[in-house]
């Protein structure tokens, strides 16, 4: 970089290309900046505004500001809305945490198995295991919805041959949650596995040889050579993973439609997370105000995690 600048600097008349502020840069940036402003920033700001109003089907053309009422309703335990929101909020966090951790450890475990130099055929295994990542997620989730159907699905038909009868996969609150987490595992482990494998293969062979000379056992090599290297690539993988699972709409809505329904309320079922609750609030119940309020809660949640991510990993800081 600096040598390039030197040689250009010496050729005085071409100075414009490097060195000084270039206004034309904003021309190059404008397509991205304008579209981001219109389609990312503006809707976000409007969502915050709408969360302070009563915009809904009843007040469709004449919404008015109601202050913090929507937020107060969500957190006031006497309000029926809070009785839906708080369990939904907790499930959103639980799902994101359990799912991300599980996906990561399964991916890491398989990567460790595949990274065995004595296993000559491991590339073949890898290419097969990557299939769930290659199939578009929406299609796989819908396929799983069919396979897990209690009466007609092939999963129950298969379990039947082992003497296990009619597990109510998508219709019982507990099993519906298990289904969501397991299907998400099926969808997500190949990505985690691939990135972990990349990290494992980047560990220099000399480190293991040196450890071997020092008399390290298999376990010691794993603990003191493999784990530290893995940890370095894991954080930038795990924390965005949480942020992503917080807002994972498809896995919930396309697999269970948020159901099974609660007896107490129609607003959200047992597997609804905040993202699918926003969708239902807006489209089924025409409560744009509450949809926007839930979105703001989710913004805060995601923002908090992203901030932790940035602090913990220093990702993107080298940009220059």
């Amino acid at each position: 970089m600096s040598t390039g600048q030197m040689s250009l600097g010496q050729r005085g008349k071409k100075r414009g290309v490097r060195g000084r502020m270039q206004w034309s840069a904003y021309g190059y940036l404008s397509p991205a900046l304008i579209t981001i402003a219109i389609f990312s920033v503006l809707p976000t700001l409007l969502t915050i505004v709408v969360s302070f109003t009563n915009a809904s089907a009843i007040h469709f053309t004449n919404p008015s500001f109601v202050g913090l009422k929507n937020f107060a309703d969500l957190f006031n335990m006497n309000n029926p809305l809070a009785q839906v929101f708080i369990p939904t909020f907790l499930w959103t966090v639980t799902f994101a945490f359990v799912s991300t951790t599980l996906n990561y450890f399964v991916g890491l475990f398989l990567a460790i198995l595949l990274n065995n130099k004595n296993m000559k055929e491991s590339t073949i295994y890898r290419s097969i295991l990557i299939i769930p990542w290659a199939v578009p997620g929406l299609i796989s989730i819908l396929i799983w919805q069919g396979l897990l159907n209690q009466s007609y699905g092939q999963i129950n038909a298969l379990l039947h041959t082992f003497g296990i009868f009619d597990i109510p996969w998508l219709v019982n609150p507990f099993w519906a949650r298990v289904s969501v987490i397991m299907v998400n595992l099926w969808l997500s482990f190949p990505y985690m596995m691939t990135v972990c494998l990349g990290g494992l293969q980047a560990i220099p062979e000399e480190l293991y040889e040196a450890a071997g000379i020092d008399g390290a056992t298999f376990w010691q090599k794993f603990r003191f050579v493999t784990m530290p290297s893995i940890w370095k690539i894991s954080l930038p993988l795990l924390i965005p993973g949480f942020a992503y699972q917080f807002t994972n709409f498809n896995i919930i809505y396309l697999l269970t439609t948020g159901g099974p329904a609660r007896n107490s309320t129609q607003f959200a079922g047992y597997t609804d997370n905040l993202a699918s609750a926003i969708y239902k609030m807006s489209l089924q119940f025409s409560r744009y105000d509450l949809g926007a309020t839930l979105a703001v809660v989710l913004f805060v949640l995601v923002g908090l995690f992203s901030w932790i991510n940035m602090r913990a990993t220093g990702a993107f800081q080298e940009v220059d």
Partner: protein, 282 residues
């Protein structure tokens, strides 16, 4: 490499075989669901409640129904329009911005991408309340082009990926071009962009494949069946009269997933290297 035909120690051999057995089990669990769908697609109606992988009365009936009665081809056309528009749009929008971040000097260069990445931590599909509310008031719902437009925001992540790739194009090439009298536009168009073709292809296909998995905005904006994307169409097939439509759904799922899966496989190496460049610092 050095040790040719080294005999494994007993411990190593045990680890190897245990690993193999675990991997075989995982592989079966991974591909079994896919095989079931293939079976279902070749099974005529009502013959699916079976754990057998071999169709009881194999036929192409489901595929025929799909092309003759259903709206599969309409969905496919709509999704292709959406995917191609978004893929091309994303390249047009991000390429010049990535060039500016890689090669130009301006206020905001140092922290600009970071700032944009933070802005986009909040995916815009969470704002569907507002999007639906606004589009309903303006009478713009149920329009495929509006659906495309709403998703046409530049992706900060793609700008970042592309910028890192542009950075690997040697600056000496720029200097050579400058000596030949080239300005920024020629350097961008004739030097940097052609050399970045692999990353452009990756971003194009990422966007295209991603668009096939988009449901929430499609469900918000699109209403009539003639505007359905594959996602909406497949969802409607499996949610209405599941028992009747499972075979047809399976056929549709296979036909739509197959080309994308193959494209992904072919691009796998490029995509993997792109991901490593993106996720590992430095």
């Amino acid at each position: 490499m050095a040790s040719v035909k080294k005999r494994l120690r007993p411990g190593e051999s045990a680890v190897l075989w245990m690993s193999r057995v675990i991997l075989w089990i995982v592989i079966v669990l991974t591909i079994l669901p896919m095989l079931y769908v293939v079976t279902a697609s070749f099974n005529p109606t009502q013959a699916y409640f079976s754990s057998s992988l071999i169709p009881t009365h194999p036929s192409l009936a489901n595929y025929q129904t799909l092309f003759q009665q259903g709206q599969f081809l309409v969905w496919l056309r709509n999704s292709t329009i959406v995917g191609l528009s978004l893929g091309v749009g994303q390249l047009l929008i991000t390429a010049t911005a990535a060039y500016a971040f890689s090669r130009m000097r301006f206020f905001g260069r140092k922290n600009g991408i970071m700032f944009l990445l933070i802005l986009q931590m909040f995916p815009n599909f969470l704002t569907i309340s507002v999007i639906y509310y606004a589009l309903a008031q303006w009478g713009l719902l149920d329009n495929l082009w509006v659906y495309i437009l709403v998703q046409l925001g530049g992706s900060a992540y793609n700008i970042w990926l592309l910028k890192k790739y542009f950075d690997t194009v040697p600056k000496e090439l720029d200097e050579a071009a400058v000596m030949d009298g080239a300005g920024h536009w020629q350097i961008f168009w004739k030097v940097v962009l052609p050399l970045a073709r692999p990353m452009l292809v990756v971003i194009f296909f990422f966007t295209l494949i991603g668009s096939f998995s988009e449901y929430i905005l499609a469900g918000t904006i699109i209403q009539s069946a003639s505007n359905y994307t594959l996602g909406l169409g497949l969802y409607s097939l499996i949610s209405n009269q599941f028992a009747k439509n499972w075979g047809e759904f399976a056929a549709a799922a296979i036909l739509s997933a197959l080309p994308l899966t193959i494209a992904f496989g072919l691009l796998n190496r490029w995509i993997a290297s792109g991901l490593v460049a993106g996720s590992v610092k430095g």
